[in-house]
């Protein structure tokens, strides 16, 4: 079943330290007042203009196979190919911070208020990331209440465009999930509008199925290294 979710702002607001770090401000020094003022301004604009909405739908591994295969452009050893067949439950999701936030980032830049525009961009990106964590937690709780989670279970998200799952996978994902219903569209280069949007697959399974060593061919050009965070969660 396809569910639409409105996220609570308080659940997705990023930590100030995370935003400042994203802006290149190191955490070990006092934050100058004028940077702090820009942060407050950006957070305020975000709170006023964000429309954080998501859609999520459970599916089986069989249903996922053609979606994951996408346009046939995945790496032969794509990480998810080794994982999803061993999963106990799967769900596809898409989420967005809405178009008004992006319009405000553009407006700030057009008004030469670059610092606030750039700060708002970081706030919105990190909030989108947090919203995907909220989806992970919700899926975990939902499965838990249905007795489908053991202490050995972990829910983690995987997205097209990462770890060998080619970004063109967005096409079939969109056909299945229809995120257009929450205002997300996809262009020919597989770019979503609004910009601050994320899609992915939530994988619930025993922790060991998520285990991976980042030594795939495609890892050499990866600047993101999100697997490190994944591995950390396996240990905790």
């Amino acid at each position: 079943m396809n569910t639409i979710v409105q996220f609570e702002l308080s659940d997705i607001l990023p930590r100030p330290e995370a935003v400042l770090q994203d802006q290149g401000v190191p955490g070990d020094r006092p934050v100058p007042d004028r940077i702090d003022a820009v942060f407050t301004q950006a957070l305020d604009i975000f709170a006023r203009s964000a429309r954080p909405t998501g859609t999520i739908s459970e599916l089986t591994a069989e249903e996922l196979t053609p979606i994951f295969r996408g346009e046939g452009e995945n790496e032969a050893d794509a990480l998810l190919a080794r994982i999803y067949h061993r999963a106990d439950n799967l769900a596809l999701f898409a989420l967005t911070m809405g178009s008004e936030v992006s319009a405000n980032i553009e407006k700030l830049f057009a008004d030469n208020d670059f610092a606030a525009g750039s700060m708002l961009d970081s706030v919105a990106s990190l909030a989108a990331d947090k919203a995907s964590e909220v989806f992970e937690a919700r899926f975990f709780q939902d499965l838990s209440s249905r007795g489908l989670i053991t202490p050995e279970h972990l829910v983690l998200g995987y997205s097209p465009g990462y770890c060998g799952w080619h970004i063109s996978g967005q096409k079939k994902l969109f056909e299945y999930l229809e995120p257009d219903r929450i205002g997300i569209s996809l262009n020919d280069s597989y770019l979503m509008t609004p910009l601050k949007s994320i899609t992915g697959l939530l994988v619930s399974g025993r922790k060991e199925i998520h285990q991976c060593e980042p030594h795939f061919g495609y890892c050499s050009s990866c600047k993101h290294r999100s697997c490190q965070e994944r591995l950390a969660r396996l240990v905790s």
């Binding site: 290149g24 610092a115 262009n187 050009s221």
Partner: protein, 210 residues
Amino acid sequence: MSLLEQISTSLQQGEDKQVFELTNEAIAEGIPAKEILDNGLIAGMDIIGEQFRKHEIFLPEVLLAARAMYAGMDQLKPLFAKEGIPSIGKVVLGTVQGDLHDIGKNLVGIMLKGAGFDIIDLGKDVPPEEFVETAVREGAEVIGMSTLLTTTTPMMTQVIELLKEKGFDSTIKTIVGGAPVSEELARDIGADSYGYDAASAVDRVKELIG
């Protein structure tokens, strides 16, 4: 402190209103616009650029200073009405067709402008022909292209090929940047240069212009 030094200092502190007022004061005192630009605004931005490189200040402070610089420049513009604001080179900048990510491209533009380049920002989703036609028409020395998607990097190749086809590849240089772009990819697609970030973009464009 001289008026020009005050402009530079206020700019470094990101005080846009002060820079606006001090620039007007300098104009009223009859200081030549070129001098206000070079020894006030650009001088202040140079210091900011240097401090940023040394990690003494951070992106938000650079961007506050840039806003202050723009506030001063807006006052000088009418004085350069005929020949335009003097620059050390002209760069046509944009995010390639099919991509709408423009924060990185904007930051590159701001830093280049701060270093004294004239920037023609074509925005995002820019077709190859528009890059080339604008650069030729405006007499630009460099085309800067940005993308964050692997699916749109072929658009960069198209611009480079179009330049070759039209015989402008020796007069108009290309520089590329963005998440999926690397020194190696830039070489493979025949770009003249690659910039890892906005600070290195300034150095690389200076190298290109010589």
